[in-house]
């Protein structure tokens, strides 16, 4: 059972306090978007063996959504960060690079 640190309230809590919310940094496509873009947005998801960026909510806690950078193989957590960003911040990218040099995830590296 994972431990995550909520970047908003600072609680280092066990998984039962949190709720996972799937892949991070999706870009919403609304009315007028192409079928291909909409399909990507609604259905297509990363399923990496290794570095992954995810959304989590501190459901039994402060209620806030946040992002987590995590390894799906070893379950190592590289860091958690604000949900109010469209890309992983530099300090998170650095933390991942320190542990997984050369990592890539979607357009990020």
């Amino acid at each position: 059972m994972l431990i995550l640190t909520c970047p908003y309230c600072g609680v280092k809590g066990e998984e039962t306090e949190f709720h996972s919310g799937g892949e991070a940094h999706l870009k919403r496509f609304g009315p007028g978007s192409s079928d291909a873009d909409f399909e990507q947005y609604l259905f297509m998801r990363e399923n990496p063996k290794g570095v992954h960026l995810e959304r989590w909510r501190h459901a039994n806690g402060c209620g806030k959504w946040f992002h987590a950078a995590r390894c799906t193989v070893t379950l190592e957590v590289f860091g958690t960060y604000s949900a109010q960003t469209t890309e992983p911040p530099q300090h998170i990218r650095d933390a991942i690079s320190a542990r997984r040099p050369g990592w890539t995830w979607r357009e990020f590296s």
């Binding site: 908003y8 600072g10 809590g13 306090e17 459901a59 209620g63 806030k64």
Partner: protein, 190 residues
């Protein structure tokens, strides 16, 4: 309104700890920019307290203010002055973007006191309730078995729990069962 009754009408139970429903209490949800002047003024106006730090509860002369999330506080005051406190907070907020709403009737509160208080909570929440980790003034939202709850530590060593009103009976039963005599754990150092 003299007919007002709290969820469990001040039920109590005792074992390794004493569990009491605290009865009617004024509770106000205040949302806004916690670092802004408007919120500080609203908290002062409503309960006479300062804005609490992250995961803290602070006392004021008319009640207390607790940190719920980065943009939300819970103000505690007397049940009968809740409406007055809401109005005072709204006034003080002025035109600043925020939300002040009376939730006094939406929740139930319990006080758990006595030597086994921390252990009773430690059986139900995935939280370190040792005195070192959870001292007076700490305020923590987590789950209590299967429902969300907020818990804080008082100066006198008792712990308080707030949950939704509809699950008051469930939470009371949890605390009662976990506090039954013979269930002493003996893990926390006094």
């Amino acid at each position: 309104m003299s007919e007002a009754v709290s969820a469990l009408n001040a039920a109590t139970a005792s074992g390794v700890a004493t569990v009491e429903e605290v009865g009617l209490r004024g509770m106000i949800t205040l949302r806004g920019d916690l670092s802004g002047k408007a919120v500080a003024a609203a908290v002062k106006a409503a309960v006479g307290a300062g804005v609490p730090d992250v995961r803290r509860i602070v006392q004021g002369d008319q009640g207390a203010a607790a940190w719920m999330s980065p943009d939300e506080l819970l103000l505690l005051t007397g049940y009968d002055r809740a409406a007055e406190a809401v109005a005072a907070a709204q006034d003080a907020m002025g035109t600043a973007h925020g939300l002040v709403v009376n939730v006094s009737d939406a929740r139930a509160g319990f006080r758990v006191s006595g030597g086994g208080a921390r252990e009773v909570l430690g059986k139900l929440s995935p939280v370190d309730f040792s005195a070192e980790a959870f001292g007076a003034g700490q305020f923590r939202r987590s789950r209590l078995a299967q429902v969300p709850a907020a818990i804080w530590a008082n100066e006198n060593g008792s712990l308080e729990v707030i949950c939704f009103r509809s699950v008051a009976q469930y939470v009371f039963d949890l605390l009662r069962v976990s506090g039954e005599t013979g269930g002493e754990v003996g893990f926390y150092r006094a």
